[in-house]
């Protein structure tokens, strides 16, 4: 009966394998980070002076208790809100906005600076519907700003970046470019399509 001892497995490289795995996981795992829609609430003002705003400069969106949408007094589906809002913001009724591509309808908004979106909700409206509508309205602003960024960006040395990417690049500490110049472009686009979204209580 031949007795033969099994050769011992060399475990010296086990630690290397373990470190390799450790580094792999360290690199690939991302810590989940909260994200969401940033909003600014209007401050409570003591002297409530009524500012007169022309009816045509207000784009009303109402969500009722059954989560149905009423945009400019017409029942609308959620998918269409973004396009309607973009058409309204980009309308350029008085012709003062030279970068707009809207229909110049005299019954719609004068220019993006005057255009206000008013979002009304009912107490019974579901939160998910409300967020969906807000998301679509923010998307309308972002799409217009992206379009503008693609016009302005290449001239100022930021080719191939849309507005959302510009903002991301501005916040990114690894971005190697002229941040001050980027900030100027972002501010310019923000002023050209200011986000005027009011949430009515």
């Amino acid at each position: 009966m031949a007795k033969r001892a099994a050769p011992e497995v060399n475990a010296g490289s086990m630690a290397d394998i373990a470190f390799l795995l450790l580094i792999f996981f360290l690199v690939t795992t991302t810590i989940p980070k909260d994200s969401g829609l940033n909003r600014k609430l209007p401050p409570i003002e003591e002297n409530d002076e009524d500012v007169i705003i022309k009816e045509k400069n207000i784009f009303t969106v109402q969500v009722n208790s059954k989560d149905q949408l009423l945009v400019e007094d017409e029942i609308t589906e959620l998918q269409n809100v973004r396009d309607l809002a973009m058409a309204f913001l980009d309308n350029n009724g008085d012709g003062s906005c030279n970068y707009c591509q809207g229909a110049r309808d005299s019954k719609s908004s004068d220019n993006p600076d005057k255009a206000i979106i008013s979002l009304k909700n009912d107490r019974e409206t579901s939160y998910s519907m409300y967020i969906s509508v807000q998301n679509e309205l923010v998307a309308a602003y972002n799409e217009l700003r992206n379009r503008r960024a693609e016009q302005v960006g290449p001239k100022r040395g930021f080719k191939g970046l849309n507005f959302v990417e510009m903002e991301k690049a501005y916040k990114d500490p690894k971005f190697n470019g002229n941040k001050e110049k980027l900030k100027e472009v972002i501010d310019q686009i923000r002023n050209e399509y200011p986000e005027k979204l009011s949430e009515v209580q």
Binding site: M1, A2, K3, R4, A5, A6, E8, V9, A11, M14, A15, A18, F19, L21, L22, F25, L26, T29, I31, P32, K33, D34, S35, G36, L37, N38, R39, K40, L41, P42, P43, I44, V63, D67, L78, Q79, N121, D122, R123, E124, T125, S126, Y127, S128, M129, Y130, I131, S132, Q134, N135, E136, V138, A139, N142, E167, K171, E199, Q201
Partner: protein
């Protein structure tokens, strides 16, 4: 016959355990990296709605969390309507201002204007309670808010 017999013991050699600490440390580090510390113990259901135009919540600025949703399992005695949770307990709408002031008191003075309130609201909650909280936040002059959402297509919110 016994001439060729090996003198060695032919039982199996013990498994080398020298690398066991490495494996354990690796697991430890892995879990240390991926775990997210929860600030509060949730006593409500909190399934966030989805949105795709989201911005990251900047951790450099101080954030206060306000949770809303219907009481979770085990807390049915608090009813089925959406409730407000501040820190680790259910709260009334009127307590929001005190909560914000307490959060501010814990901050360094120069950071106070940057305080962002993150509203973590269950997707099935109604806007009534959210509107009330927003009104209280306005009274407390905490105007920077963030509707914290998941990332995804909004159309998934509707036909749930």
């Amino acid at each position: 016959m016994s001439k060729f017999k090996s003198k060695k013991d032919n039982s199996l050699p013990a498994v080398n355990t020298a690398s066991l600490p490495d494996i354990v440390f690796m697991l430890l580090f892995f879990f240390m990296v991926v775990t997210v510390m929860r600030e509060d113990t949730l006593m409500i259901e909190n399934k966030l709605p989805l949105a795709d135009q989201v911005e990251k919540l900047d951790k450099k600025n101080p954030i206060s969390y306000i949770y809303m949703g219907k009481p979770a399992r085990g807390y049915e005695k608090f009813g089925t309507e959406a409730r407000l949770q501040l820190n680790d307990k259910f709260a009334q709408i009127s307590e929001v201002q005190a909560f914000i002031n307490a959060e501010r008191a814990a901050l360094r003075e120069e950071l106070i204007p940057y305080l962002t309130v993150s509203l973590k609201v269950d997707r099935e909650a109604n806007m009534g309670i959210v509107g009330d909280v927003k009104q209280e936040l306005r009274k407390a002059n905490a105007l920077k808010i963030n509707y914290t959402t998941g990332t995804g297509d909004v159309m998934n919110n509707i036909d749930r």
